[in-house]
């Protein structure tokens, strides 16, 4: 079994595309390398990316950049050069322009377009090259009812736009069929917190009901359009509301025969094994025409959860050691694959070992590769997606859509992930050996 994992892992690794020679890509790669080597520099970079959409002018932008860099003790030569430029107004304008271009380019790597319409072209390109997508609409935090309504309208528009475009895409059997039936070409991920301004941890039912009110028409429309609607998971503060909403809406007999939907399990949560059992139990008891997709992720709010818990004197709800999360990820993968066909498993990870493990366990259970979906994030898992597609696996790329202001929180989180010393991607970029990449956690 472990032997199979190793050979699967090596074959994926061998299928990785050779490094792109795009000079701009090389440039932001360089910036991220610098950032991952120096914690102060990394902080400066994040704070700058974070503030950039709120800056009123290039001068203002350059001023912020200089203030952040000023707090870095040891400045590499290119940074020192940037600091010198900021002494004059003209220098600041040039620095601001260069920095703005840098942030824009970095954003484009992770964000597929400003609107669903703009995203159609890159999505079709991915589809033609063997990868499906799930679209995610980035937005400012929802603090008013009007904002929640607007987000719901944007979701509706995304569904319509994708549904109008998708029929023209060429046939890709791996991406649109598994042994349980057809898989929608159109796939949208939605966030419960964006659908209501009323989500509060101490009163989950209030936000749940308010979000459900806006979610229901989306589900109905997705069913009509034959689209998949995936309900994303966020921080623990919204967990009860999100799971409550899923169970309540999807148990409604009116929505039993569609649409295809999905939920997310976060393997870094200590309580995730019980949660997964709950979902599987529910799926068994509540059969749907199209079985629910369960996307297994590690979880993207680790820092938030740990800091929040520490400030309140709580035990963090997440595993604090990366190895524990990785081990749990493997255990949940097996549990999830065993639960097929009551659920459709989707394993979302950039960790080569986790992906190889999912493929080999699925085979060990006697299932077809086509009954396992693998998912990655745009901008982080592109090479892995290409390799998996080449090997004939079904891979889906999570593609955020939105403008700079809306996308900044997302971008910062992705950058953090990409420059973290603990991340698999970091290891990969540093040229860690394949044996280590595939070592058991």
């Amino acid at each position: 079994m472990e032997g199979d994992l190793q050979s699967v892992g090596r074959s994926i690794h061998a299928a990785f595309p050779t490094r792109t020679r795009n000079p701009l890509r090389a440039l932001d790669q360089k910036a991220m390398e610098l950032a991952s080597q120096d914690a102060e520099l990394r902080a400066a970079l994040f704070r700058f990316v974070d503030v950039s959409p709120a800056s009123r002018s290039l001068d203002d932008l350059a001023r912020h950049l200089t203030e952040y860099l000023d707090e870095v003790d040891e400045r590499p030569p290119p940074i020192e050069a940037a600091m010198k430029m900021s002494g004059t107004r003209a220098g600041r304008a040039a620095l601001g322009a260069a920095a703005a271009a840098g942030v824009r380019h970095m954003a484009h790597r992770f964000i597929v377009g400003e609107t669903p319409r703009e995203a159609i072209k890159p999505i079709r390109y991915l589809w033609e090259h063997g990868a499906a997508v799930s679209l995610d609409l980035l937005g400012e935090a929802t603090v008013t009812s009007a904002e929640a309504d607007r987000y719901a309208e944007r979701c509706m528009d995304a569904l319509e736009t994708l549904a109008a475009a998708a029929p023209a895409w060429p046939a890709r059997p791996v991406l649109e069929q598994d042994s349980l039936g057809p898989l929608p070409r159109v796939n949208l991920s939605v966030k419960v917190s964006a659908l209501s301004p009323l989500l509060r941890p101490e009163a989950p039912e209030v936000g749940r009901d308010d979000a459900a009110r806006r979610m229901r028409p989306l589900l109905v429309r997705a069913r009509e359009l034959g689209a998949h609607l995936h309900i994303d998971m966020e921080s623990v503060d919204t967990l009860e509301a999100t799971m409550g909403l899923v169970f309540e809406l999807l148990s409604d007999p009116e929505l039993r025969d569609g649409p295809s939907t999905g939920v997310v399990m976060q393997a870094y949560l200590r309580e995730s094994p019980e949660q997964l059992e709950q979902v599987i139990e529910w799926a068994r008891a509540t059969p749907r025409a199209s079985p629910i997709v369960v996307r297994l992720v590690k979880g993207a709010y680790w820092d938030h959860e740990v800091v929040d818990a520490r400030q309140h004197g709580w035990t963090p709800p997440v595993f604090e050691e990366k190895r524990e999360s990785d081990r749990n990820f493997e255990a949940l993968t097996r549990r999830l694959l065993e639960a097929w066909p009551h659920v459709r498993p989707a394993i979302a990870s950039h960790n080569l070992r986790s992906v190889a493990n999912a493929i080999s366990v699925n085979r060990e259970l006697g299932r077809s590769d086509g009954d396992l979906e693998l998912q990655v994030l745009r901008g982080l898992g592109d090479d892995l997606a290409a390799a998996l597609a080449q090997l004939g696996m079904r891979v889906r790329i999570y593609c955020p859509v939105g403008d700079m202001v809306a996308g900044m929180a997302y971008l910062v989180r992705r950058l953090l992930e990409n420059t973290s010393n603990e991340s698999f991607l970091g290891d990969q970029q540093r040229g860690v050996s394949i044996d280590e990449l595939l070592a058991a956690p």
Binding site: A141, A203, V206
Partner: protein, 521 residues
């Protein structure tokens, strides 16, 4: 000096359904015992001269506590007990002994956390998250001052030269009077009383007439833990008892938290030194605020809106630290007002016992009238309000007003309710000029992502507690020592390393150790 063993009492994880259920159970249990009997306790004796009731602000016909009414006579008797017996018994104990009694009281409160939170929900309409935090803060004060008392007991290091031994130590002052407000019905009376006791004084506690129940629970815990009855008296009642305590020549320290009018009156009255009073009174007076949050153009409005809403409207704006004004850069003012307005319109105004409630009723009818009066002064400056409020109970619609003249009373006076005034400013400097022009300087806030702006505002801000890129309420013991400057307070910092110094007098002993020209040490 940070006490090594001190940790903040963890608040409840209200995002867990089981935790919420346990609180609802505690409330049901409490309800079955209402009204609570809270006697006036004078040197261990129950006084029976009269009674008064505290009621539920959300349902005024519900009596929460029936308290013994203390007046001038009781005040004099309590001070006599403290001064003749209490101080002698308690003040002669070592700091370590006093600390261990306070820690015992902390553990008694800890074992009653749910019940005490439920009591605040009923007696003060304090919503669960705030009620729980209040109980935790009370426990923190006991633990923190216990540790500080031991530390202070070691005295301070002084410069030493040959032939001379210098020591500095701190002695309790004597009788401390504590006059407490209702808005932190357990934490604030507990903090002031615990500090007085930790330092070795005898204490007389006069809680607010709106919240005798919580004060009763506090005094019970302290007595059960071993504070001698004469060293801690409880005088539920109105201003009459408080005024008598302040005037009493046998009182050494007055610790007060409450309104500016009463606070300044106490400062004046305590300055009198009638014949026979062998000391000057020390006054610790913490009064109100007119707290401003500055929002610069580079702020992240996604953070600003929820933090501002929580700071201004949490517990219906009835925290001294609550946000009263937002001074917003003109480049983002319109956008912020729009989003803030939308967020205020969906605020859940309701009974404190519901976990959904964000804005509970205000404390009493007088408060309701006051806030509504200021709201009507704002006229057509009102831009958003949550109008769907229950009809019975002392509810006030949470309201945002915009662009009022600088000299409007809404912009200058403390409203102490769910009313937030937003003003557009040219830049941060204009905002700072406004902050500077206000006589009150308790808390303040700044939202900016520029390190230079943060430094500039921090250097110029007169307030006691400045919060950057976060809400401006919720000071934690040991982390944010709390108290105001200017006319907001005397600069003492509750829950901080200097606070106990208000309750002691320093004594220096210098001994000549030379004998026959030879230093003998």
């Amino acid at each position: 000096m940070i006490p090594a063993e001190f940790r903040n009492e963890p608040i409840l994880e209200l995002r867990r359904a089981a935790v919420r259920d346990s609180l609802s159970d505690a409330l049901r249990e409490l309800d079955s015992r209402l009204p609570l009997e809270v006697p006036a306790l004078i040197g261990g004796e129950r006084s029976v001269s009269g009674v008064f009731d505290s009621t539920d602000p959300g349902m005024p016909e519900r009596v929460v506590a029936r308290a013994g009414l203390a007046g001038e006579g009781e005040a004099a008797a309590a001070v006599a007990a403290a001064s003749e017996r209490g101080f002698r018994e308690w003040g002669s104990r070592s700091p370590a002994e006093r600390a261990s009694v306070l820690r015992d009281a902390a553990s008694r409160l800890r074992s009653r956390r749910l019940e005490l939170a439920a009591l605040q929900v009923r007696e003060c309409a304090k919503p669960w998250p705030e009620a729980d935090a209040d109980v935790c803060e009370a426990i923190d004060f006991l633990e923190y001052y216990a540790a500080e008392a031991v530390e202070l007991g070691r005295g301070r290091e002084l410069l030493q030269v040959p032939g001379e031994r210098n020591t500095m130590r701190y002695a309790p002052r004597g009788v401390a009077v504590v006059i407490a407000p209702w808005n932190f019905p357990l934490a604030i009376p507990c903090g002031m009383t615990a500090a007085a006791l930790a330092a070795g004084n005898a204490a007389v506690l006069k809680p607010a007439e709106q919240s005798p129940g919580s004060a009763g629970a506090l005094v019970e815990a302290l007595h059960d833990a071993g504070v001698p009855p004469a060293a801690l008296s409880l005088l539920p009642g109105y201003g009459e008892a408080g005024a008598a305590l302040v005037r009493d020549p046998r009182v050494h320290v007055i610790a007060f938290t409450g309104s500016g009018a009463v606070g300044l009156e106490i400062v004046r009255a305590a300055a009198e030194t009638p014949d026979g009073q062998g000391h000057v009174k020390r006054v610790v007076s913490e009064m109100g605020g007119k707290n401003c949050v500055i929002v610069d153009s580079d702020a992240d409005l996604d953070d600003v809106v929820p933090e501002l809403v929580h700071s201004a409207f949490g517990f219906a704006g009835q925290k001294c630290s609550a946000a009263a004004r937002a001074l917003v850069h003109e480049a983002v003012a319109e956008r912020l007002v729009e989003r803030l307005g939308g967020a205020v319109r969906v605020l859940d105004v309701g009974q404190a016992e519901s976990f959904a409630t964000e804005v509970p009723p205000v404390i009493d009818e007088e408060a309701q009238e006051r806030v509504l009066r200021y709201r009507s002064l704002a006229g057509d400056g009102v831009v958003a309000s949550a109008e769907d409020v229950p009809s019975s109970g002392w509810f006030v619609p949470p309201t945002v007003v915009f662009d009022l003249p600088e000299d409007s009373p809404v912009n200058r006076e403390e409203v102490f309710g769910p009313l937030l005034s937003v003003t557009a400013v040219r830049d941060v400097d204009e905002a700072m000029d406004i902050v500077d022009s206000l006589p009150l300087a308790l808390t303040g806030g700044l939202f900016s992502r520029s390190p230079a702006t943060i430094e500039r505002v921090a250097a110029r801000s007169p307030v006691g507690n400045l919060y950057v890129n976060r809400g401006i309420t919720g000071a934690m013991v040991g982390r944010q020592p709390f108290g105001g400057n200017r006319r907001s307070g005397v600069g003492s910092k509750a829950g901080g390393p200097d606070y106990l110094l208000q309750f002691v007098e320093p004594r220096i002993v210098t001994e000549n150790t030379m004998r026959h020209g030879i230093p003998v040490e």
